[in-house]
Structure formats: C-alpha cells, structure tokens
Amino acid sequence: MGAAAPTGVASEAEYLEIAVTRWCDPDLLRAALDDSLPPGLDVLAVVEAAGESLADRLECSAWEVRLPQADPALAAVAVEAFKAAERVEVERLTKKGLRRFDAREAVLGLEARGATEGTETTAGQGSSQPCVILRMVVRHATPAVRPDDVLTGLRLVAGFAPPVPPEVTRLAQGPLDVTTGGPADPFGLDRDITRGGETEPVGGHVGGDL
C-alpha cells in the first residue's frame, strides 16, 4: 500500500499493489475485491502492473481540508504567511517519538476559500455550516508532511486555529504533473499497456483534480 492516508482521514485515492497467483481479468478482480470490502470502501479500478513500482509513482497528494466555523479572512492571511515562509518547523508525535521537521518545503500549492451552505462535499462529509476550505498539494517526503502538519504550520505562522476538528479528504495522489502542479493519474502507464497502447482510461475515475 503506497502512502496510506492517516487514521480519521477520508480519501478518494488510495492505491494498493497486490500479486495474484494467476492471471485475472482486472474488471472481475475489481468487482470481487469491491464485494469483499465494507460499504464506503470502494475499489474503483484495477489495472495490470506495468512493472515499475507503484509506490515510486506516488509523488504527491492533493488534499481538501474543511474547517467548519473558521474565519475565511484569517485563513487567507495565514495561508499567505505560510507560503511566504521559507521554513515552517512543526512537531508531531510519531511511532519513533516526537519528530521535528519542516512542513513548508513539501507544500507545492496551498489555497483557502470560504464556502457557503450547501457546498458539495467529498466522501460524504456533509456540512451545512459556512466553513473555510483549504486545498493543498503536498509532495510525499520523509517524514511525511500531512495536512494536520500544515494546519499546525498555519497556527505557528499566523495564530490560525480552527474552532472544531478539521474534515480532511485526500482527493488524489500520483506523479507530479508539472503543467498542472498537481498529481497525475498514476495508472497512466499501466492503462496504456493493459489496453494495448490505447490512451483512453478504462474503468471508473481514479483520483481527482485539484
């Protein structure tokens, strides 16, 4: 499993590499895996691996962080301050103990906007209250910089602290597309091979756009 989302975080884009004991039709395998998982965990697509490591292709993630009841003006100021900083040192308790690391360099893009009631949400995280929505693209690094580290950074640089726990969703992950500044489809190469060189994607949507 490449770069699994942290506990308590919703995701539209998790990737898993498995080996099977015999050749299986990818669509049938997708349906069988999907049937085996609880409601809400959906297998959207299966492709035959082209050989290159999947984990190496997952270079960055796009995240959405909903902050109910947060002040949009304060959020905008904090985001600008964060982006203007060269380094933002944060601390997080990891399995190996308390780690201190830079949360700024890995953040390739960050923007904040206010949302109004009735805004469509991802992963079923419905909310009717006004809120701030952060969207960010974060490069995968060691130690991993997670959206909560970015939130810690916003607090450190501008005292921005959301009043209620954030609702975090990973929207996409994949190789960094320099033209968009976000993740591209990590299955692109495999789809080409699986489909005998066709460039049209198969199956359902994998990942999302920033």
């Binding site: 506990t7 308590g8 975080v9 498995i18 080996a19 099977v20 004991t21 015999r22 049937d35 085996s36 998982l37 609880p38 409601p39 809400g40 965990l41 726990p165």
Partner: protein, 660 residues
C-alpha cells in the same frame, strides 16, 4: 418502527480513538437485514475487544443460524475500549452493533457468550452504555432479555442478578427455540409482559431464569438449598446437546475481520466433546459426549469456507483433534487437496505419541517444520495420574525424539501449577522433563540447535469437574513454585539456554477462581470492581488484583472461603441445580480417585456410561470411521506470490491465546 443508525454520531468519535476500524463493521460475510421485516432481533456480544471476539466460533455460528431464519435478524457487538467508552459517555452514544450500528437496547435479546468469567465487568459496561438497567429486576418491557451462554454459563450465579436468563450447552437449536417462543409471545401482543416471556422460556427446563430461584444459606455461609420460587419452574435446568454435527455445518461463511485479530484462519470444528477424562478440564466434562463430524462434511466445510472467505489457513478444531477416528484420512485428504496452494492447515493437537508427529508432518507439507506443542500438564508422573493425563515420561521423550529427528526444531510443553495435592517437587519436575527433552533432541539431531519452551498456567478449579470440591492453591504458593522453577532453569548451564519459560503470576487465577465457583453474593464484588473502573480483566494491562481484593473487602466477601477452601462431599454447590448431565456421585468418586492416584479410561474406546451424561441427556457417543475418503479438488496450484504458505507460530497452536 425503524431504528436509526448510530453511525453518523459514532463516526465523529472515531478519529479520536485507537483502532477505529474495529467499530466500523461491514466485514466480508457479515449480514445486515431489514429491521422492520424482522419480528425477533438478537444482539450477540462477545464481551471482549473486537480482536478477541470476532474469531469466536460460538458467536459466528449463532449469528449465521439466526440470520438464516426468516423474520429474524442478528447483529454483533463487542466491548469498546476505554477510550471510546469515555467518548460515548460524553456524547451520549449508546452501545451499538457493528453490523448496522443499531442501539443494543432496541433488540429483543442481548445474548452474551462467556468463554471466561473475566468478561463479566465488560458485560456491565455494555449494559450501562446501552442504557439497560444493570439489575435484571429493574428492567422493563422495553429492555432486551439479557441472556448468557458459553462455558462460564454453567455457573452463572455470580452474575445472576444481572442476567435475565442463561443457557447451558450447544446454542444452535436452543437459539432457534428461544426465537420462536419470543415470536409467538410478541404475535400474541406480549401478554403478561417480560415476566410471562421469561416464564415461557423457563418452564421447559432448557433456559435458566435466575430470578425464579431462591438461594437459602446456612449460618456459616454455605448454601442450604436452591429452589424454584414459583410453580411451573423445574428444579433443575438441563444443558443442550446438538446431535449429528453434519446437520449443522456452521460457520458456512466465516467472518473475515477488518482489524487484526488473535486467530486469523477458518476454523472447522471436527468434533465436539472429549472423553479423555482430564480432571481439571471443564470443557471436556461439560461438552460430553463426543460427537464427530464426518470426514466428508469436514472436507465440504473446508472447501466452502475457504472459497467464501479467502482465508489461507484452516484450523481443525476440537478439544483433542488427533483423536478423531479418521484424522489420518482427514489430514492426508486435505493435505493432498491443498498441497502447493496458498492454503495451509493446522491442528491444535496435544496428543503425545508418534501418530501425532505423522499428522504434523502431513500438515506441514506446505511449510517449514518449526514448532510442535504437547500438553503433559503435570510435571511429575504422580501429578499426571492425579489429573488423569495418561502420559508417561517415556512416551514424551520418545515422541519428542521422533519430532526432532524428523526436522522439528522447537517443542512447546504446556503445564499447570497449583494442581490438587501438588508439592514443590511436582513443579520442579517440569525442569527435569524439559532437560530430558533437550537432551533427547540433541541426541536425535546431533545438533545443539533444538529448543523447548515450557508454558505454565495457574490451575483454577472449575464447576462440573471432579476438582470442583478442591482447594485452589494460593497465589503465594503458585508464585513460590514458579520462582523456584525459574531459578533452577536459569541456573542450568548445560540446558538452561535451550529452555524457555512462559508463565503468569498466580493472582489473576485467584480472581478467576472466585468468579468460577462463586455464588450470587459474589455479584456485589463484580459490581464494585466495575464501579471502581474495572474493565477488560482478561488483559494484564487492565487487570488489577488489588481492585478485586479491595472490592471484596468492601462488600464483606472472604475470597479465601471461595477459592482456597476445600468443599465437603455434601455441600450444596452454587451450580448443583444446573445439569450438565454428569452424575454427582461419579464426579465425587473421580475426585477421590484423583487423590488416590487412580486413573480412569477414555470411554470413547471402552463403552462406559458411568459419568451419567449419555443416559441423563438421552445422547450417545457418535464416532466413525465412515470409511469414506476425500476426493481430489481442482484448486489453484501456481507458485504463491502474495504470501507464502507458512503456518503461523509453528501451527500447533492450542487455541489458548488469551491476552492475560
């Protein structure tokens, strides 16, 4: 009326707790049925954490059988960890099922399976979180019937005040029968309320309703008598025995856990009951007679269960699996079928003979020969005669020599400490035995690369066994003997490094002893412990001996009187009105034989009705051989890529994995 899912409220709490996946439900082969289309609804609980509770066979079997019934639904609930408990209390979220996240209080029956008495405090947490009054007497018509089952239900007296009912023995048929009684009563408009429903259940003699029985005591604290307090209630309640296991091939669709659990395999029960007559073994006594599943049903169940679940390990369960009359054919047939596949086989075997090695060799075809487990249980020949474990030192050394010479490198030996009549020398005999095992292993292999681990558990006298009258050893005695053994092994320069020792201190066994042979007065201790924060008593990191002793002192219970006191023949025992089929005189005679070192034969091979179970219960031993064989299957034999077909932990696990 529809019942709302608690999941939206629960989901908000999950990011804040450990292992939130255990509360999500939706496992492969789990079932969610329409609430409104069901007329009888069961919430089934294993009163421990998901990781221990999910693999429980009893709960899985009942869950499947009840859900197969029309107009009936069953969902599961497990003990929530203290972190979630605190959040649920703060946010007002009640005890929920993991299947549809329905509130437990909305169900008709709240069935709790007690494999061990150490789950009692978790039951109180679940009741309290559910909003169900702790005391059965305080419950109203809107509360579910709180029903206990499992081996601990053979003496439910310590929790009698908290239970509406208890069932003894096999649950398959009686769960269906209870369902029909409830359905009929509800269809009639629930006449007479809760009291009449309990009466309808009790009058058959197959369901124990503690409130319909009064307990009277002698001035010295012993029980004078236990008697029904209303007409129509039988004096004795009998256990249930499923005959012809081939008709009950459950689980057919084993649950596949979402979180890591203690046993991750598909378990097939190859027979129920045991007649070896080990005097310490409650399971062996209360599950008589032996009833085998046929070789063909075993083969069909393995095939269907593996297909339905994807498990890559199959365990053939029973109390003494190598005793199945066709185990050799079963082993060969399954090993042939699954050779070269990802599916591995395991056998929780304790038989000490060469045949067992042959079986182990069959089961290890797909994997490496790591460890074998045997259970001599007693450290000296005399001790083994007392407990009726007929294994001689010669047998053991010959068997382990064979095992080592055939490539096995590790032998695990199970023992108990604190057995009746035991002296220090009996426990120190474990060291002698382990040294001889290593010596034999080195001679057989010509190598020093052999190991032996001795694993020692504290003995707890259990109801419905010949040792039910015995004095339990104090924890000081047990700890003293274990320390002496440890010192000897540690000081042994020649063999000490090749011998590992695993044990627990004696204190938890005293609490287990109090709960095992306690009466209704012990309920106050359980409640006081729970009120003081007692939870998950089966886990060493949560268990507090001092909390139990303080609670007992507070409510005026003398723990020694319940544990280290030997009982007289004619003392009324708290469970005497609960009938496991065993003749009390036979049990007493067997207790006398034990202290006189007299052994008793296994009635599986020598027809014998002395224990009383078959004539009392109208049952018979059911064994093969059938003479049938397993036919080959077409299975995938490609080289495994995902995971190797290695068997876990030497694959001869006794199935005793328990956190404490």
């Amino acid at each position: 009326m529809p019942v709302e899912s608690l999941f939206p409220r629960l989901e908000a709490l999950l990011p804040k707790v450990q292992k939130p996946i255990q509360y999500v439900g939706g496992e492969l082969n789990s079932t969610v049925k329409s609430w409104d289309e069901a007329t009888v609804r069961w919430a089934l609980m294993y009163p421990d954490a998901y990781e221990v509770g999910l693999p429980n066979q009893g709960v899985q079997i009942l869950y499947e059988i009840l859900n197969e019934m029309p107009e009936t639904l069953a969902e599961r609930t497990y003990a929530v960890w203290p972190d979630l408990e605190a959040l649920m209390r703060a946010e007002g979220v009640p005890q929920f099922t993991v299947d549809a996240h329905r509130p437990v209080r909305a169900f008709d029956v709240f069935g709790i399976s007690f494999s061990t008495e150490l789950g009692y405090t978790n039951m109180l947490t679940a009741l309290d979180l559910a909003g169900i009054p702790l005391e059965a007497a305080d419950r109203g018509d809107d509360d579910p019937i709180v029903l206990a089952g499992g081996h601990a239900a053979f003496n439910p007296e310590p929790v009698a005040d908290f239970l509406d009912a208890a069932v003894l023995g096999d649950g398959e048929q009686v769960a269906i029968a209870i369902t029909e009684v409830i359905r009929e009563w509800k269809a009639e408009g629930s006449p007479g309320g809760r009291d009449e429903l309990l009466m309808r259940l009790a009058e058959s003699g197959g369901v124990y309703v503690p409130r319909f029985y009064d307990v009277e005591y002698h001035p010295d604290g012993r029980i004078r008598r236990v008697a029904p307090n209303r007409s129509g209630v039988p004096w004795r309640v009998h256990k249930h025995t499923v005959m012809d296991l081939d008709e009950w091939p459950y689980p057919k669709k084993p649950l596949v856990p979402l979180a890591e659990t203690v046993h991750e395999r598909f378990s097939v029960e190859i027979f129920r009951g045991c007649t070896r007559g080990c005097r310490f073994c409650q399971a062996g006594m209360i599950t008589r007679p032996v009833r085998e599943r046929s070789i063909t049903t075993i083969g069909d169940m393995v095939e269907a269960g593996v297909k339905a679940s994807g498990f890559n390990e199959v365990g053939l369960l029973s109390l003494s699996s190598a005793d199945h009359s066709e185990i050799g054919e079963v082993a060969k047939g399954l090993a042939d079928r699954y050779e070269g596949t990802n599916t591995s086989l395991s056998l929780p075997s304790t038989r000490v003979d060469a045949f067992n090695i042959d079986l182990a060799n069959e089961f290890s075809r797909n994997g490496r020969r790591s460890g074998l487990t045997f259970a001599p249980e007693g450290g000296s020949e005399r001790m083994r005669k007392v407990i009726n474990k007929m294994v001689t030192e010669e047998d053991l050394i010959r068997t382990v020599s064979t095992a080592y010479s055939q490539g096995w490198r590790q032998v695990k030996l199970y023992f108990m400490c604190g057995l009746p009549t035991e002296e220090d020398a009996d426990v120190l005999g474990i060291a002698d035995l382990a040294r001889k095992v290593i010596k034999a292993g080195r001679e057989a292999t010509g190598s020093r690369d052999v190991r032996c681990t001795v694993s020692i558990g504290g003995f707890v006298p259990k109801p419905h066994t010949p040792f039910q009258w015995a004095a339990q050893a104090s924890h000081e005695v047990v700890d003293h003997r274990l320390k002496a053994l440890k010192d000897i092994l540690r000081g042994d320069k020649e063999y000490g490094r090749a011998i590992g020792m695993r044990y627990h201190d004696g204190k938890p066994s005293i609490v287990e002893g109090l709960l095992s042979r306690g009466d209704r007065r012990v309920g106050e201790v359980i409640r006081a412990v729970w009120q003081d924060g007692g939870r998950f008593d089966g886990w060493s990191e949560h268990f507090s001996y001092q909390r139990w002793m303080d609670a007992a002192a507070k409510v005026g219970i003398d723990v020694d009187w319940y544990t280290t006191r030997e009982r007289e023949e004619n003392e009324v025992l708290p469970w005497d009105h609960l009938d496991a089929g065993l003749d009390r005189e036979w049990l007493w005679q067997d207790w006398q034989d034990a202290v006189n070192d007299v052994e008793v034969e296994d009635c599986r091979w020598t027809p014998c009705y002395d224990c009383g179970v078959c004539p009392t219960m109208g049952t018979e031993i059911q064994i093969g051989p059938t003479g049938k064989k397993l036919l080959p299957l077409t299975v995938v034999r490609d080289r495994p890529c995902v995971s190797t077909a290695r068997q876990k932990d030497g694959h001869h696990d006794l199935g005793r994995t328990k956190p404490l």
